[in-house]
């Protein structure tokens, strides 16, 4: 891809490669070193360190910012798996701080209050990798063009309602399928409509997939939700509030991890879904006051 210098190009490759290693795995939101340990022991392939999980951010209201670096470092010390953390959309100074403490992945996230209502971070300026949310192919390719090396659906964080993650994944996949069936001479106009460089559009046309790994996020709460998202084309799953807002976090986490590996085996998932205790209560789409997915397009 033509946009980046050679140095940032090779960093981008290494950062895409780390996302490849996370595939088929579950990335869990954690707020304390103890929760991080529970997540690691349950089989999380990475943890997202944040002060408040999205359900509590939603409940508390107010401005939501990057977490205290000391809290993030405590989690880095507690586990051996990759540690991710969130910065606000467009807040490149928060991202610089996260890079300074050697975070493994930055999530430029709509879960926090956006710091810039026009520009996302120029992620090509960073050595650490970025994951960004997207609702469709256009958003995904714009984030990749800005330097994101991993994409996730936005879904609707902190709701425990999978409907929006499903909508975003279906939209992304149908956008990709449509592009795959375009004639080559139609791709220039597609690039214009999607507001992204031709190279990226050509890649999707030729390969039938994004040039980076694509996870599901925002509303996954049960092993069945995880299986659904994997069958719709996700390469792995983020679970935020769904685990530590439930009755038995360790058991639910283990069950979701196994459901992602064997996502087509309904018999196994039936067994995994037994006796998990209370799932998070959740909020239905119609009851949501704040649509986080509408932040940063």
């Amino acid at each position: 891809m033509a946009v980046k210098s050679q140095k940032s190009e090779s960093r981008w490759e290494l950062n895409k490669n780390l996302a490849q290693m996370l595939k088929g795995g579950v990335i869990m939101d954690v707020t304390t070193p103890e929760q991080a340990k529970i997540a690691e022991e349950a089989g999380a392939c990475a943890v997202m360190a944040l002060e408040r999980i999205p359900a509590d951010i939603r409940a508390a209201g107010g401005v939501s910012r990057m977490s205290d670096p000391k809290m993030i470092k405590g989690i880095q010390d507690a586990v051996s798996i990759p540690v991710m953390a969130k910065c606000r959309i467009g807040h490149f100074a928060e991202a610089q701080i996260l890079q300074a403490i050697e975070i493994d992945y930055i999530d430029e996230s709509e879960v926090l209050s956006p710091a810039d209502d026009v520009y996302h971070i120029d992620k090509t300026k960073f050595d650490v990798p970025f994951v960004c949310g997207a609702k469709d192919l256009s958003e995904a390719l714009r984030r990749i063009n800005e330097g994101a090396s991993m994409i996730r659906t936005k879904g609707e964080p902190g709701t425990g309602d999978v409907v929006q993650a499903v909508r975003h994944m279906r939209k992304m996949m149908s956008d990709i399928r449509r592009l795959t069936s375009c004639a080559e001479d139609e791709l220039f106009d597609e690039a214009k409509k999607l507001q992204v460089p031709y190279d990226l559009v050509k890649y999707v046309h030729d390969n039938g997939k994004l040039p980076v790994v694509n996870f599901a996020a925002g509303g996954v709460a049960t092993p069945a939700d995880a299986s659904l998202m994997m069958q719709l084309g996700a390469e792995g799953v983020f679970v935020g509030s769904g685990i530590f807002k439930s009755g038995n976090p360790a058991k639910r986490a283990r069950a979701i991890v196994q459901a992602v590996t064997n996502y087509t085996d309904a018999k196994l998932i039936a067994k995994l879904s037994e006796d998990l205790g209370e799932a998070m209560v959740g909020i239905n789409e119609q009851e949501i006051q704040l649509l986080m997915a509408e932040r940063g397009k």
């Binding site: 090779s10 490759e13 290494l14 950062n15 490669n17 780390l18 490849q20 290693m21 996370l22 595939k23 088929g24 795995g25 690691e40 022991e41 349950a42 089989g43 999380a44 392939c45 990475a46 880095q76 051996s80 798996i81 990759p82 890079q99 050697e102 975070i103 493994d104 992945y105 050595d127 650490v128 990798p129 283990r254 991890v257 196994q258 992602v260 590996t261 064997n262 085996d265 196994l268």
Partner: protein, 190 residues
């Protein structure tokens, strides 16, 4: 030639694509029924998170079966997390998973993602090959295993009879020579 690829978590599809490019037949291993009664010519344990793959091997009741295949001589190729799973001990971790190979592995030996790198270095008999290290381990010491590659004074590839390990990811490059090396190991077994 049938290669079983452990598909519990991580970068398994990259191995499958490379092996199929080289004309090998592959089978995904996701649970016990995928290995029961199957006669594999070789096994691949891919990169990913060793804690996750190790845990799933136990939860899905496959640890003893996979160890059994290796102990009875089935050739096995482990990359990155695969190296850690095969190691007899891990220098900075109390876990031991398959433990069939006489090496001491060091997890996350190059630090966090900022320590990940790509390089080109010599590999036993193949000349220079491209190597991608992602939050990679290296080998502190080998017992009965033979050293195949050293980068900056650290052991990054080794072989012990039917077991081949690399700390780096040949499946992330376009260079097929290390996978060919593994297929030759299988062929020479007869």
């Amino acid at each position: 030639m049938l290669i079983g690829v452990l598909c519990l978590q991580g970068a398994f599809i990259e191995h499958i694509r490379m092996l199929e490019r080289l004309g090998a037949q592959t089978k995904e291993i996701r649970q016990k029924k995928d290995i029961t009664g199957v006669d594999f010519d070789g096994l691949v344990i891919p990169g990913g998170e060793s804690t996750v793959i190790g845990k799933l091997l136990n939860d899905l009741d496959m640890m003893d079966d996979i160890r059994g295949f290796i102990e009875k001589g089935t050739p096995v190729f482990g990359t990155c997390a695969g190296l850690i799973l095969l190691a007899k001990s891990i220098a900075n971790d109390s876990h031991c998973y398959l433990g069939t190979m006489d090496i001491v592995a060091r997890r996350n030996a190059y630090g966090r993602q900022l320590g990940s790198f790509a390089t080109v270095a010599p590999f036993d008999g193949l000349g220079d090959v491209p190597m991608t290290f992602i939050r990679a381990p290296y080998i502190d010491s080998v017992g009965k295993a033979e050293i195949l590659s050293v980068v900056d004074g650290k052991i990054v590839a080794a072989r012990q009879d039917n077991q081949l390990v690399t700390a780096f990811h040949p499946e992330l490059t376009d260079d097929t020579r290390i996978h060919e090396y593994f297929l030759k190991m299988i062929a020479s077994r007869g």
